[in-house]
């Protein structure tokens, strides 16, 4: 008997790429270009994409070994230990909330730039209210709509890129000379942010028409995104003054206005809205469900596991993400330090990818006989290289931005303490101890634990 396998490669690619494409991606793309001389952003973006392909193949192996929606929590728990897995997962979810905050700030800037009469604060609160309301009521964005948004978005970005490149006669300034090696490494490290979230497609592993489709879909999505981002970024920097792009929290609007005037602004508003709604929704769903599941496991206080009796959605967890998202957005609005969140996400993602490479190596050693339909070819070379490269990129981002290293290390230390001190106390306080309801005899394990005398 086969499981319900209905998802095709088209949907896997759309899901993987759709979760990644966001309005804040354009900020990261401009930041990548800002590190480099001439029009060489494409080099750093393609290198980032190539490295992410290594990480994608590691995630494919982990997912084929342990196909579960629990994701990195399960992979790292089996490979290392549960406490490390929990610490990293909690930190990762906190960073995703930060990304949602940065995304709302960027989208508010886009909307404010099109309709200056409405202040960004109103846009931020309105957007969060809409997405939170949708999530509490359990309204779904249909799969076909998601496919349309993703492919429409990628197609539109390519068209805009070619129009812009056409306007400058396809003349690029030094497209092959990025400058120093250190700046190139930093650009690649930030470029990783452009692909953040491609691995969130792994829970679909058992719903696709063929088990290999998730790994193929991830690789295709990263490949497609690399090309789209590389072309779009080069088009932006070739057609629009770099200072204007770097200074703006919504560089895609500056670019669209330069290339197509008010029609470009309208087009970009639609694109940004489409990109943000999928990111918001994915962020809110994944983080709120993670908070709910953690509370059910007594990793977080049980209040977070409360469900709406009407809509059966975890409303306390959803409202928590809403409150955190709005707070982060307000802080960003007051300080304008949205780039810290972009760098933070890039560093955290690099840490997770480095651990994914290590997890592959460790699980191969620990469970050599385990079923593993997909195996990264070439022995330990790709997992080891992925691990080393992404660890290096994480360090590079942390050295470049002092606040990133401060926040990341502080977050890790607090969560490490929380997992070691608070979680055991929560479990001991709330975890019920009750007699089993089992109405059948307990099966005796055959010879297990028996001492032979």
């Amino acid at each position: 008997m086969g499981l319900k396998r209905v998802l095709t490669l088209r949907t896997v690619v759309a899901t993987s790429a759709g979760l990644t494409l966001a309005s804040s991606s354009f900020v990261a793309a401009v930041q990548v270009a800002g590190f480099l001389a001439g029009d060489t952003a494409w080099l750093a973006i393609l290198t980032g994409g190539l490295l992410c392909l290594g990480a994608a193949s590691c995630f494919s192996e982990l997912n084929s070994r342990l196909p579960s929606a629990a994701g990195i929590r399960l992979y790292f728990s089996r490979a290392f230990n549960d406490r490390l897995a929990l610490t990293v997962s909690l930190l990762y979810m906190a960073v995703v909330m930060g990304v949602v905050g940065a995304e709302s700030y960027v989208l508010a800037s886009v909307l404010n730039s099109a309709l200056p009469a409405v202040p960004p604060l109103i846009w931020i609160v309105a957007m969060f209210l809409v997405v939170t309301g949708m999530n509490i009521r359990g309204i779904k964005i249909a799969g076909t709509f998601q496919d349309l948004i993703t492919y429409g978005l990628m197609g539109s970005l390519l068209v805009l890129a070619f129009i812009a490149l056409g306007r400058v006669g396809f003349q690029l300034t030094a497209p092959l000379a990025p400058g120093g090696i250190l700046t190139f490494i930093n650009a690649v490290a930030v470029g990783v942010f452009l692909f953040v979230g491609f691995e969130w497609v792994t829970p679909l592993a058992e719903e696709v028409t063929h088990s290999r489709l998730v790994s193929r879909g991830m690789l295709l999505a990263v490949g497609l995104l690399s090309v789209v981002y590389a072309l779009f970024t080069v088009a932006m920097t070739a057609s629009t003054p770099r200072e204007a792009l770097v200074a703006s929290p919504a560089p895609q609007m500056v670019f669209a206005r330069t290339v197509l005037g008010s029609a470009g602004v309208f087009w970009m508003v639609v694109l940004s809205l489409a990109a943000s709604i999928t990111t918001f929704n994915a962020g809110l769903i994944s983080v709120s469900r993670f908070i709910y599941a953690s509370a059910r496991e007594y990793v977080l206080p049980p209040v977070f596991s409360r469900l709406s009796m009407r809509f059966f959605t975890p409303w306390v967890a959803i409202l928590t993400v809403f409150a955190a998202g709005v707070t982060i957005s307000l802080v960003v609005l007051a300080t304008h330090r949205y780039l810290v969140l972009v760098n933070l996400a890039a560093a955290m993602e690099s840490v997770v990818y480095a651990l994914a490479g290590l997890a592959v190596i460790r699980l191969r050693q620990k469970e050599p006989q385990a079923k593993c339909p997909y195996r990264v070819k070439g022995g330990v070379f790709i997992p080891a290289l992925t691990s080393l490269v992404f660890a290096g990129l994480a360090v590079a981002v942390m050295f470049t931005d002092f606040y990133v290293s401060l926040y990341l290390l502080a977050g890790f230390a607090i969560l490490w303490w929380y997992v070691h001190q608070v979680v055991p106390a929560l479990k001991s306080k709330y975890q019920p101890r009750r007699p089993a309801r089992r109405r059948r005899p307990v099966a005796e394990p055959a010879d297990a634990g028996c001492e032979k005398t």
Partner: protein, 117 residues
Amino acid sequence: MASHEEITASLLAFQEGYNKNERLKIMNRDWDRVVLVQANDIPSQHTLELRNGELSVREGAPPRADLTVIADSETLADLFYGDITPTEPYMNGTLKIIGSEDDIVRLDFISLMIWGE
């Protein structure tokens, strides 16, 4: 390892607990779902069907399932007897639930309403 009959008995205990809970039946009256329960260590498949708030159990797989619950036979029996909650085996990879996140949360909620924490 539990037997196919033990899983059937646990599912019937689950059905009995569900049918005693009038509030749960009212809450689920617009949640029509077909759930496949499949053991991965013995040949055992069951179908849980919710229609108009009523829960029925039958042996064998449905032609099409909205949700699929896969685990070893022992975990399945423990789960449907209410000896364990779904969360921990789900997080440690012993239990796999394939379906939308909202459906997974609803299944967790039903188990909570029948068996408590």
